[in-house]
Symmetry: C2
Subunit: 338 residues, 2 copies
DNA sequence: TTGTAAGCGTTATCAC
DNA sequence: GTGATAACGCTTACAA
């Protein structure tokens, strides 16, 4: 009972041909109801399962999509992937996971691999190191749908799903201003990445809208971990006039900042208000919770999947669809003065 | 330049046959060095890429493995998957992700799907709802390697990679005893799941080893979220003699317990010590950190992948390999008295 | 309505 | 050492 049953086995059993079996199984109209039912019945009896690989080779469609992220065990990315999987599985697609470790070369290799494996689409978030675009073009050359989520490459004709990072930065900063803060620091990431640039721009715009002059000394560009946050906080503590708020593009950095400030006896948010970005789970589990901007990760995954499905359905039309989800500012203890 | 190049195209160009091209590409010894190099050169020139699907159909090996978890965006599972991916990618395997949402039917469907897709192996953590084993046997019938990680089904002849949950429960409880606690509560999950049963057994064994009588009233079986922890804490607060320690099989429950206790003015760990399980990221980010038992998620993924590789290398040998990793007790604020 | 045969891109087994 | 051919399991013109 463990050997593979093919349509030939069914055909042999019924003294018909494999083509007929195939037609019956695929509800091809050009077949008599009688044989159709008979085939279906015996197929079930014999425990026939379609070999997707043969189908894939024949049709050129593997029913697999590749999803490429820096690291899969980062909450944001695993949540996006969850959304993608939940949207695509019911449509018969399987999700192949690949990690770049933020390395451009690995991204290039991975794409090459996925193309060899004949994936029907690639959904990805670009690695931080990436500067080239040739490997993306190789996907487009093959007319395979490519969808960027969150981090996209500068490339014409490619769809993307992001949040409005500018708005996120604006809202966060505006909220701090509303709380009475005036000396608002921004700690961000490398502005070569659009997401960080946009958050930074949103920050500046909010300052300007409130008539607060932009101070370049109040901007720190650094990595996205707790340690970087602590170091940044040390810098801030050295200033003649210590800032009264921090808007960070990373929750981890926000956490590091808070830790260091508390260590120095400052109160959050009374002395310094802090808002992070990403709505990492820990921000709401902390004893004193951290305000953050939610990135709608699962929704981003779902929407990315839908954009892919649209493109795969209309292969001729080359649409560049840019979906921008609305980020949500979550105001919590770290920035809400009583 | 975007159309697919096959070995036939190369053959045509060189006026040789596809078989020869194939041999050259696969370093088959029965070929002259001259043609080998020539083929390799033109293959590169023409930008030939092997079609993995054709190879897969021919060989019966897809170079894909299915990984099935309840939810991919749970830190533990995404970390295991990261480990699996990092171990398997260099060996040429792709990881296909599937989620069961803890539903048995979805687990059954998923396995059926993966088998149709001719995966070379299945690595999985069993859903909480699962009671049947037929769907696992279908994998074994096809002689496809099956590896359980963390949660395994009761099934002979299947390899598994787990942590020593008994030891984890023992260590956590012993630590609480060493801290001077005597009225130690255990909050666990459904003991139908081996992991919860083992942690519970470890707890009991540690009590016994220290001559502390086991008290059934000190055992609460519940779900694994913060709310459940808060409810459990309320029950404990109603007791005539309030316990002095809690060992929880879940970090989320531990968090809920701590929140509720603090709400009632109790100090952690002075009044009640708490140890959780899983080493969820938030446990070490909290202002007052939570002790927990680390489950070596990434390592578990790596090892699971290696067990799969072994089995796939020796298809004849039917080994039931049971790897048990050592959990690591991480003592933090919530249980360490000054 | 059903059968025949070609083809998807490889590799493997024969011959030569 | 190279070529011809079959085979993996399926779908689909084209015939019948």
């Amino acid at each position: 009972m463990n050997e593979k049953v093919t349509i030939y086995d069914i055909a042999k059993r019924l003294n018909i041909t494999a083509a007929t079996v195939s037609r019956a199984l695929n509800n091809n109209p050009k077949i008599s109801e009688a044989t159709r039912l008979l085939v279906l019945k015996t197929a079930k009896e014999m425990n026939y399962k379609q070999n997707k690989l043969a189908l894939a080779l024949k049709s050129g469609k593997s029913n697999n999509v590749g999803v490429i992220v820096p690291y899969i065990n980062r909450n944001f990315f695993s949540s996006v992937i969850r959304g993608i999987e939940e949207e695509l599985y019911p449509k018969g697609y399987h999700v192949i996971i690949c990690q770049t470790h933020e390395e451009e070369q690995k991204e290039i290799d991975t794409i090459s691999n996925l193309l060899n494996a004949q994936v029907d689409g690639v959904l990805m978030s670009v690695s931080k190191q990436t500067t080239k675009t040739e490997h993306f073009e190789r996907i487009l050359d093959k007319h395979i749908p490519l969808v960027f989520f969150d981090r996209r490459a500068k490339l014409k004709g490619v769809s993307s799903v992001t949040i409005d990072d500018y708005q996120g930065g604006y809202d966060a900063t505006k909220h701090l201003i509303d709380q009475g803060c005036r000396r608002i620091v921004h700690i961000g990431g490398d502005t070569k990445l659009e997401i960080y640039k946009d958050r930074f721009e949103g920050y500046k715009a909010a300052l300007e809208a409130s008539g607060i002059p932009f101070n370049p000394d109040y901007v720190i560009i650094t990595k996205s971990d707790t340690e970087a946050g602590q170091k940044a906080a040390e810098e801030l503590l050295k200033m003649k006039v210590v800032p009264d708020a921090v808007f960070s593009s990373s929750d981890f950095v926000a956490l590091g900042v808070i830790q260091k400030f508390k260590e120095h006896g400052l109160s959050i948010p009374e002395d310094i208000s802090v808002v992070g970005f990403s709505n990492e789970p820990f921000t709401k589990f902390m004893e004193s919770t951290i305000s953050s901007v939610d990135q709608c990760a699962m929704e981003m995954g779902r929407v990315s999947a839908r954009v892919f499905l649209e493109q795969v359905k209309n292969p001729k039309i080359k649409i560049e669809k840019k979906v921008e989800l609305s980020p949500q500012l979550l105001i919590r203890d770290s920035s809400l003065k009583k």
